[in-house]
């Protein structure tokens, strides 16, 4: 390999990393825009907005890194959509006023259970090991927090319980069979 080829390799590597980052940021922007729907009509959007920002950073990093991280993050976002958007839909449907709504923790529990089921069921087929599980859980948790943080601590606890129970069910079923 000539010196010119070595220089070209460095330039190609930079082009690849830049292109990958651009691609990851584009997908992240779309994902954050979708999760930002959960902020519509939110009485205190500060906390959920911070979670959405954290979701953006984690998602962009995982997509840019690629491999198991990327696959896990994509699954996590898909699973996290239910607890992210269901509370906003419930808020819009029942028009709950004030800073707290009693039905929201239950909705978060249900959304968390759906997310957990998806994580457990699809996660077993990922073959990404611990890294994909970690990315999936982190992204699903952050996406869920965007929707459930307006419901307060009860909402977040419902989300965590839902995800844990939902994810445990398919994993235990697979081990038993």
């Amino acid at each position: 390999m000539t010196a010119a080829d070595s220089v070209l390799i460095v330039r190609a590597r930079r082009a690849y990393e830049r292109g990958r980052l651009r691609w990851a940021l584009g997908h992240t922007a779309a994902a954050v825009a979708i999760s930002a729907v959960a902020l519509v009509g939110c009485p205190q959007p500060g906390g959920p907005a911070a979670c959405a920002a954290a979701l953006g950073i984690v998602l962009a990093a995982c997509l840019w890194r690629g491999g198991a991280w990327s696959r896990g993050a994509r699954l996590g976002f898909l699973a996290g959509l239910a607890p992210c958007l269901l509370p906003a839909a419930a808020r819009a449907a029942y028009a709950c006023g004030g800073s707290f709504c009693l039905t929201l923790p239950a909705v978060c529990l249900a959304g968390g259970a759906v997310a957990g089921l998806l994580l457990g069921w699809l996660g077993m087929r990922l073959h990404g090991g611990g890294r994909s599980w970690l990315a999936a859980a982190l992204v699903a948790g952050l996406a869920g927090a965007v929707g459930c943080l307006p419901a307060g601590l009860a909402g977040v606890a419902g989300l965590a319980l839902g995800i844990a129970c939902g994810a445990a069910a398919p994993v235990l079923a697979a081990r038993a069979s």
Binding site: Y16, R20, W69, S70
Partner: protein
């Protein structure tokens, strides 16, 4: 490219699209000679090297977008073909640019014969320009001076092309008569 090598390129590019950096070097080693050879067949050697480099960098910049359902070789050659087309267009524009026209002018200290021939040519060019519609002549003079009238770039280029075509026709007509 042989079938086995093509399949390996497909696999490596899929891995690179998935973010596996281990696949970077095999893809580079496979693509660089391929793109260089492809460009040399379509462009002069000095421009082929640049076009092949641009194509290679573009392939790596877009590797994350590669769709595994597509054929890797066709995808890569599609990008290379676009770069080669762009290089050709750049070359064509360079040839038509006023800087090149000026560079092709004879030097100040030319011989009397050359001066006479140049004078004849300039007179013939002036006559051909005078035969053109005034808007075409103005467009060509502005283009030769390097001025850019208050027009969008593509519109101006289109006008220049049209005016050059008419000038060529007028030139051909006057020379055929002679």
């Amino acid at each position: 490219m042989e079938r086995a090598e093509r399949e390996r390129l497909q696999r490596d590019l899929e891995q690179l699209a998935d973010g596996d950096r281990e696949a970077f070097h095999p893809v580079f080693v496979r693509l660089w000679p391929l793109l260089r050879g492809f460009a040399v067949r379509c462009l002069p050697r000095d421009e082929a090297e640049d076009a092949a480099q641009e194509a290679l960098l573009r392939v790596f910049a877009r590797a994350a977008e590669f769709d595994r359902r597509r054929d890797a070789l066709s995808w890569v050659l599609g990008i290379a073909a676009y770069e080669i087309r762009s290089a050709r267009q750049r070359r064509r524009r360079r040839r038509e640019s006023p800087a090149d026209v000026l560079a092709e002018r004879p030097a100040a200290g030319r011989s009397p014969e050359a001066a006479a021939v140049a004078g004849d040519l300039e007179r013939a060019l002036a006559a051909a320009l005078a035969a053109l519609p005034s808007r075409d002549a103005e467009t060509l003079l502005a283009y030769a001076r390097g001025d850019r009238p208050d027009l969008p770039g593509p519109t101006f280029r289109k006008r220049v092309q049209r005016a050059l075509g008419r000038l060529r026709d007028a030139w051909r007509l006057s020379h055929d008569r002679r």
